[in-house]
Symmetry: D3
Subunit: 255 residues, 6 copies
């Protein structure tokens, strides 16, 4: 199966970090393909950036969805996830969502740690969107200085470990999620320093993507993720416009 690892941030180095963390986790026969946002911000850290990043996600998916069995939104916070599920037919998995759902099997309460306080506000919205607030012990963030986004985990490993321990000791977290794409691959290095299981969101996401491709669910023809009716558009990217206007489907049907 082919899985798209769609990074809605513009930092190619983060996409490579995600792939490097994910590849050892995939099953035989699973191919991961990375895709970095052509515009936007180096890393999404606020609701406003997520609003824009989610729109760019939809553009990227409109261009590429037909080539994959599933797609992963590879920014913790999952910008554009519910819209993508509505608009496209393939399974789409959010890195935050997959991490939280997986964490639910490892503890009664999960904590999330991250490296800017602005992100924490947005992540809290995400927890609420998935109605998992009753499973969340809290989100711990500290705004840490770093030289470049791809260097966060190298430079801030000890600070992240400390946040994780605080999540356990002060918030009562039974399991800790390392939130934010730039922390991909860090979990094994912190294992000995934190007394509870750690979840690396990109690993959780690729395994959930494999699970969904295996389940082979039909596209919903009813309910919340059924495809919206065709709608006229103006000023949108060609592929996205075609998808919203149902022109892509007509084209396929006419072939």
């Amino acid at each position: 199966m082919r899985i798209l690892v769609l990074n809605p941030n513009t930092t190619e180095a983060v996409t490579q970090m995600l792939l490097a963390a994910a590849r050892p986790a995939v099953a035989d026969g699973t191919e991961l393909v990375g895709l970095t946002a052509p515009r936007g911000v180096p890393y999404i850290a606020s609701r406003a950036e997520a609003q824009l990043g989610g729109a760019i996600t939809l553009e990227m998916l409109a261009d590429h969805h037909r080539d994959y069995d599933a797609a992963i939104l590879a920014a913790f916070g999952d910008p554009g996830l519910l819209p993508a599920r509505e608009l496209f037919d393939l399974p789409v998995i959010g890195m935050a969502e997959a991490a939280m759902l997986t964490a639910c099997t490892l503890g009664q309460k999960f904590g999330i740690v991250t490296f800017t306080t602005t992100m924490a506000n947005w992540y809290l919205d995400t927890v609420d969107t998935y109605r998992l607030g009753a499973r969340c012990a809290g989100i711990r963030a500290r705004s840490l200085a770093f030289s470049a986004i791809e260097n966060v985990q190298a430079e801030k490993e000890q600070a992240i470990a400390e946040l994780a321990r605080e999540a356990v000791e002060l918030d009562g977290a039974d399991v800790v999620i390392l939130g934010g794409a730039p922390l991909a691959g860090l979990a094994p290095r912190l294992r000995a320093q934190v007394p509870v299981p750690l979840v690396d969101p990109i690993v959780a996401a690729v395994k959930m993507a494999e699970a969904l491709v295996t389940l082979a669910p039909r596209k919903a023809a009813a309910g919340t993720f059924s495809r919206p009716p065709a709608k006229a558009t103006s000023g949108l990217s060609p592929a996205l416009a075609a998808r919203i206007e149902h022109l892509d489907t007509l084209a396929t049907a006419a072939q």
Copy 2:
């Protein structure tokens, strides 16, 4: 005071309907200015369209926010509302949010009625985002055929009235919100046909906007709506890029 009525849909006729419904409601000295989205869809009716509409909302606000005392997001569902509150300094009010909060003073449970089932899925997300689920009796929608979006209320008045009565009788709504910008101004005409109070969202929104301008709240320097730190961008509209990069503030400070 000057209040921006920002319609994230591309249909100018709907902007005019909103203004026509809102103008009789404003206080002396309140000026309403309409603004229609330069691109997007004629009316936002799905999560995917809201994701895009919210991004366009941010672009529009970046261009215009300095000229107003407050802004109203004039699409029920409030695309981009929380991001806008984070990014800009003026009070920003959502039509759905204002309608729900106002309805809370008229009943223990509000119902929402609208004219496409796709919209209902998105509106339900909105209720959850505001954590008002315990005050919501339900959302009633039927996908009604109409000749053009600006003609919905003229053509479907009886169907909307029937949905409102069902909200009361079957869902236990104590007050009914007429959801969707194209229903602006309809409430008074249905008054005799529905046994509970009706809320017209644009009227609720302009009064809430006036309230916030009167309260004159400071821009948050802490908490969830404090301004995110400066961030590099690429490929965004100039004004929006400047706002995210904090270049606008530097420019202002340099003057």
Copy 3:
């Protein structure tokens, strides 16, 4: 429009403070009329006092409701609010309710601060009654000594500012409500000392009252706030007895 500012406390000086804080906030054409409870306690600070104050509120409304377009219950905690909505036809707004609903547009979580711990217990009930617990960061109170109830804000300004900062820093409040009628008008003076928006409940209430009069909702003929059937009474104040017995309506109908 004429709005009744009904103070269920017996302290005329507090009524005057409320009017002084509210008058600059009203629109052209809005007239505010104050009314102070003829019996009861100088300021309601407990559930028992609220039970009695709410009963006195109903007596006062029975005497005066026909002369106003809307009424504000001008004691934070809103004694008698839901009963008044049931029994009378005009819109009735609670100062606590209006403050909380308005605060919801300024942050994801509001905090409430006040000057006696007994009040905090009652206010917490109020948050629950409105099912806004998921929006409330907490209630912070300290029992502060003061010379007279109308002097609280003058004497305790710094203590209130400190509570508000604690609400932000320790509870995560994004916006702070200054709870208690004796704090009316204090918000602007604290603006520079607290890093988030502040809400003055009486200002929120008069703007909400104006909004409701503008919306001109019909009296509910169904649902939770429809008028209860006529009931015999004994030993109640004449106007209240007439209202409960439906004698006032018969009298009106007979004219």
Copy 4:
């Protein structure tokens, strides 16, 4: 032990029905004394009537609390319960509360049935006040005509049985509470007609009162039901004024 059965309604016949239903349920040594409200309404059926009835309850308790080991508020809906717990030292039990808590041991979800729809609105507030909404399957009411309040159960037995069966079949109730003082004593007669356990609130209340007297809890000196500080009053009944002003305690202390 002596338990006061305080009926905040003015109908002595209902007080007698309550005592007749309760007396077979008490333990040896428990004495029940009835007290009927000296003013108010024949039976409380709305929030407004409950506001007044709760105030009268406090007056009655102020006059009598020293003569009893515990008091039962013998109107389903429990007008004045939380204020009474705050103000007085003896255990005070609500008939609705005791019925709901007891019902929680007989099913996962309880239903409540009653004989006027206005009552149902108020009862729903009561369920929320006790934060038992997650245990409540619903409240079923029909506005039934009857000759006098003390004749409701005799005349409407079949209609009540039908409501109880609907609570089971349509709402999923595992246990049904017969709500409203005028239904006291009806449960045994409906036993064969309803497939789940029935709870008679006055029986639940007297047994809970006995339990609390046996537990002999201290009056709270901290927390939500600690006694409010002394407060000046005007125009209240003498005993109630003395209680609020702490004059009764001083008098006791001076003896």
Copy 5:
């Protein structure tokens, strides 16, 4: 009436402590009979031990249920309570459940204190099972060393009192439950040291058992606690097998 005090732990000394604490609380005519688990663990302190203890509880009830009017599961945490209600006809009361429901009449929020942190995890599940989380201020536990389980309260009285005070001061508990069978009878000794009411679970349980026997509820023939259909079994204790296979009922019917 005869009430079975079923201790699912194997420590006879704890059974005797429970009976000693309970006997002064019963009404005239109530007989309490203790029964100690024939196998299992000395005191249940974890979910795994509760899973096993609940299974043993069902075996014990299968052997003895016909001889009693009601049964109390005398281990805080109530192992096997809901299964027992399903399977047997007599009222079954849990010590934790009875304590929490009774505590709801003494405060808006109850705290629970206990003497091992493992127990606290399990107790938290119990609070959730009863959907009383909104009434729970928290569970405070410290893993205290003791010489034998029946000596906990004698050796750790001061530590328990300190936990109770912390529940009040730090968690906001209005009433404190002394959790764990080995604390039976301790409440009166701590009365002067804790500023809020204390609940002894075994006392709450016997009074609730008396209440249910007095109410004489029918066995549910519908809803969640109706008896499951007959099922074949293998390898279970004879009486339990007979109960699940409905052989006991057939035997009774054949007599």
Copy 6:
């Protein structure tokens, strides 16, 4: 990796059905081993049967846990899941839990269908235990007659399809879980008959098990699933007694 498929029911034919449905779903290198309960009931359908089945599950795990990388509790309802996570070191996955968590990626609300109403009561407890009630549209069950438990799906395919459609149309389910081990493998056959995605719990469970083995979480040394302290036992199975008494660990350490 080796994954134990532990069927707490005694029906070997159901174990074989589960393996047959699961094997096509596993990744290369995953070995599934089935294990059927040596005693208990043919299929667990009530809380009482789940209490016993969970105890048997712990016995089975005590005997076998060292030979596997993960274990699946292969009875929908997950008897003994939380206790197993506490007591053992390997990841343990519940079939119901995995199905619900996976369904959360395919819809906002999942429905569950099953073939006896008794099961539905127990499943509802399960949804609550995982605090996923806000994601659950409801549980639909009808007590269907069948010749043997392993024939349910062959004989009742149409009835199950009808329940699934009702879950969509009447309850608003966006995705439907086929609940109960005897329905393993049925989902693909119903695909064309139900308009939303279907989830086969055993497939969801094996993919979640693979995910957890890949994540390789450490055994919690803190929080809710840390191992309970050693405890004496009597009358338990030898391996389970050794595990609870920590004798197995000492034995391992001594080697």
